[in-house]
Symmetry: C6
Subunit: 253 residues, 6 copies
């Protein structure tokens, strides 16, 4: 049997949950409600790659590229140098190219309704950079008001990215009350699902994550607490957050 | 790492929940059901700014400007002087310019269906005043019957306001039975979410708030009780309101 | 600080729940399921006003004016004299002017689909009578099959009535299983919400009310039992009806 | 105060729940799921009237008139004589006049989509018979696929029937899982609501009824068990069926 | 009072639940989720009739006639002889007459969208055979994608079948999570409802049935367990399966 | 009575749950949420057949054929040899024939919207190979955005496949929160239903399966745990996973 290649997130406590790293070429859905830390996780994944020489592309659909760089800097993640060395690129699918600062961006998607254009710009940026890690934050934006398109859009992105040999995190925004991961068309089409949660327990907000699926590797089967510190996410891979809900099942010999 | 700038609400007990204040330029969703105190919180945020020299604009979509001034006065918040000194402005997006009293308003939006006009008037008022604090009460009005527009409208407002360097509170009205914050298109696009609640517990109505997310700062992770007094809102930042609901999770070592 | 003007309902046990009366000019939503006593509450509010010289208008959308007078008489509330003295008027938005008895009505709305006509007739009747108290029973009828219109209709009524300085009760019909007050467009637009409930508890029907919001005054924060007697509603402002439901929260020091 | 006229159902155990009978001219919604005994209750109401000289009309929308007579006969309720003496009539809104036996019916509604025709035939039959008791079984049929019409249809029927001085039972079919009475447009428009229930309790089906509202009279406020015997319905007005559900409220002094 | 005629199912343990048999001419809805044994119950009803000389027609909408015969044979129910003697017929509303084997079928419905054709073929087959027992498996197929048609289709079938004096079982497919019987338009229009259930209880699948209504006879009011053996269904009319769910009611003296 | 033919899955622990194997010609729905192991089960079913000389066809709608072979190889299931010997074929309904590698595929469906083309290619591949085992992964893809087509598509596939004498597994994707198997049109049309589950129990993910129905054979009636190992699925046919949910029923003597 062949030896699987893995991409290390280098997020403290996370990689040991997936036997050392995310299997290469996997498209992983990072799903969670508002305030759960999805963007931070994805940016940390990219920056940790850059630090050890793995190039990356981050497609931003929710945040101005300038604000995005500022947000990353707040965690000490300065991407400037990597951008200058062509080891990292931001694909600006937020401004539509409108505004003074937007004119300085290299990769701009005019309209996110134009999926072929989006695919072209992403493909070009990956090739230019030689990117091994891709983040799309968020894919939900692409079909928010047209859920019927979700699977089609996701499949096209998947074809482009895995065709180029890259490993990707697709941020999926769900409503705070939604227990799914972004709809059946999305959940089944990806290679992995990581769920981030923020739950109120006895008047306190608690963060946890669980790996729901990960093709190509065994993975941890527990819900793990994590913190968002000023250096990013730290997962506690030893503790378990237990959920008591509508269903519970027990195993009997 | 840079030092973050903060905007103090000066609402008693609140600022300590966000490490001293809301990070500057943040767009904060203030979400809650009817009767939870959203408008009072937002007006108090504006008036407390005025008192210490921070200028503000309040966009009213639900209440006649005359009635709004009257409501604020009932808490002892007299904005007249600040309006005369061009330190505060009300943008009237309620009357459509119809009626005798409406003719005296300086900033009037003819139709709230005309988003470009709305954006223009808001932009102009912020520039004229030099406003640092903005309240829109409520953004829900803009897409109540057209939820599919919610994210688009919010993104445009966000671009205008953060482009001018202001910090904003967007009031989001949810139904009394709704546990979300205003829909996925809205929840994910803002920088912060403060949820106000009014719950019947054993035959008594109890007020509480919780900060669900706040980009750019650590924040309190507990549900806190608050009161509405004749001087406005007072938060008890020490007590916790515990919720017992469908889900509960526990942490295990 | 100014002294607030109040309108006494004179419903036994109610006014002490709102510090003496409903703040003048408030538009109050009186919300409840079938059989909860909404119409009785509203008629009692009107008649108690008439008895002490405060003039009123009652807009009937659900009941024939003749039947309405009969219903009120069953509680001993004889409006005839007040109608003859032009101190009280019924606006007939029920018959459409069709039928022999309808021809005797002074204020008739031909079609409730014609909101401008409805507004005109209401405005005229309030001016003619010099009405200080208004009841619309029910506003739900106006948008039952077109919920998207709810907020618009309510806002127009609010403008007319508060523009004329009157205080109003808008009856809102909700389904027996609905826990809201009539939809987000309605709940947030009014100045007060009184909820009437009829619940089956251990095989017995129990009546209770709770004041969910009331702008311009502090108000009681408890669920109170009430009875419908042959003299109308009597609220027990001392007892509490405790609800045990899906959610409960507790306060911890 | 005037003395109220009442119509006795003469269903054993029922009239004492409404202080002696249903107030005259009331339109009462008889609501329940499949198999709860709605048609039996309504037929018993009609036949008991006939026995003591009160004339009646039964509008059948769900059952062939021939089958309806057969069903009634199974309980010993032979309407033949009353039909011959013009003291009772069936309005056939089932067959559309198609079929041999249908041709013998006197009052036939060609199409239940044609509400004006339906109203005409009902009006004529009530006048011909001099009917004091009316049953429509069921009104739900009239708007099953067009719920938006429900209130309009019900209001028109109400006007015709109460205009002629009759007292009516409108059978309302709800789904087995539905806790309401037939929708907000219907629940609020009627003068009374009687709910029949069939519930599985610990593997056994139990019948109960509760009077949810009844204008013009005080009424019992408890859930009462009843049986369907070969002589019709018998209510036990002394026992209580207690429901334990999602909500429970308790009263505290 | 007349003596009621009954049709014996001869399914072990069932007839005693309905005082000896289903009242003749009744249209009975046999409702249940996937895998609950609906088709087996219906086939057993037909075959048991044939064995004692009562002729039958089975309308198949879900299964190829050839496969249907094979399925019945697996339980030892060989219909071949009865078909040859014109005592039993299958109405093929499955193949649309397409395929080699389909050409051998005598009663074929070309398109199930053509309800008049379906009614004609069914009417003809019943007359030809002189059928007393009819099964339609399933009626749900006829309105699966057009639920608004459900009641209309069912009423037409009911008229044809009861007009010819036959007794029928209409198989109604509901989703595994649905607690109703097939929608309000269907539940109320039939003369009887038998519900088959398959529930997971503590990790084990348990079969039970309950008779929800049966016009023209008293019936058992308990949930009874049953088994599917290689000879068909066997009901245990003595045991009770108790359900513990959201609601429970208790009776108090 | 005839002896039933069975198809052995040879998945450890599974066949004993169905008395030795799936009845030949059965169309079995393999239903589950994301990450439950549906594709692995289906591939294992195919490969185990190949190993003992039973030929197979796998229709891939979610995964590139190249990736599919790679996925299978990760479990040690090398299909290359069988493809070369014409004992196994992949029907590529994923690429649409686009891309270099796709050109090497023998059976390609250009568009999955073209159901007749899909049926033709499947029919041809089954005939060419002489396939006895068929997998379609997944059928849900065919009607994801057009649920109204589900039953029609499934019925056509069923006719083609069972007409050719093959036994099939249809993978059905359901949302993670959905308790059904893929909708009523699908659940009732298949011969068997196997449900795979992945549930969070006290912070741990647990895998289990249950056989909900299987025509033509008795089957195990318990929920059984299983593992996904690097050799594929292993079912523990002795242990039971007990579910505690909304409903529980108990049996009483």
């Amino acid at each position: 049997m062949f030896q699987i290649e893995r991409v290390k997130t280098l997020i403290p406590g996370f990689d040991e949950l997936v036997k050392g790293g995310i299997p290469k070429r996997n498209i992983v859905l990072l799903s969670g409600g508002p305030g759960t830390g999805k963007s931070i996780f994805a940016q940390q994944f990219i920056f940790n790659g850059l630090k050890q020489g793995e190039r990356g592309v981050l497609v931003t659909l929710e945040e101005h590229p300038v604000q995005l760089r500022r947000n990353m800097l707040a965690f000490g993640w300065d991407v400037k140098k990597f951008e200058e060395e062509n080891k990292f690129a931001i694909v600006d699918a937020f401004t539509g190219g409108v505004g003074e600062t937007a004119k300085k961006e290299k990769y701009v998607v005019r309209s996110t309704d134009d999926i072929p254009e989006l695919l072209d710009v992403i493909r070009q940026s990956i090739k230019d950079i030689g990117a091994e890690r891709i983040v799309i934050d968020s894919i939900s934006t692409l079909y928010l008001t047209k859920p019927v398109l979700a699977r089609g859009v996701l499949m096209q992105l998947k074809r482009v990215i895995s065709g180029l040999g890259a490993t990707a995190i697709f941020v999926s925004q769900v409503s705070v009350t939604e227990r799914g991961f972004g709809g059946p068309g999305v959940e089944h089409a990806v290679d992995g699902i990581i769920r981030l949660d923020l739950d109120e327990i006895n008047g306190e907000l608690v963060r946890s994550l669980i790996i729901w699926k990960m093709r190509g590797t065994a993975h941890d089967m527990h819900r793990r607490p994590f913190e968002i510190t000023d250096k990013g996410i730290i997962v506690d891979s030893k503790k378990i957050v237990k959920m008591r809900g509508e269903f519970s099942k027990i195993l009997e010999g």
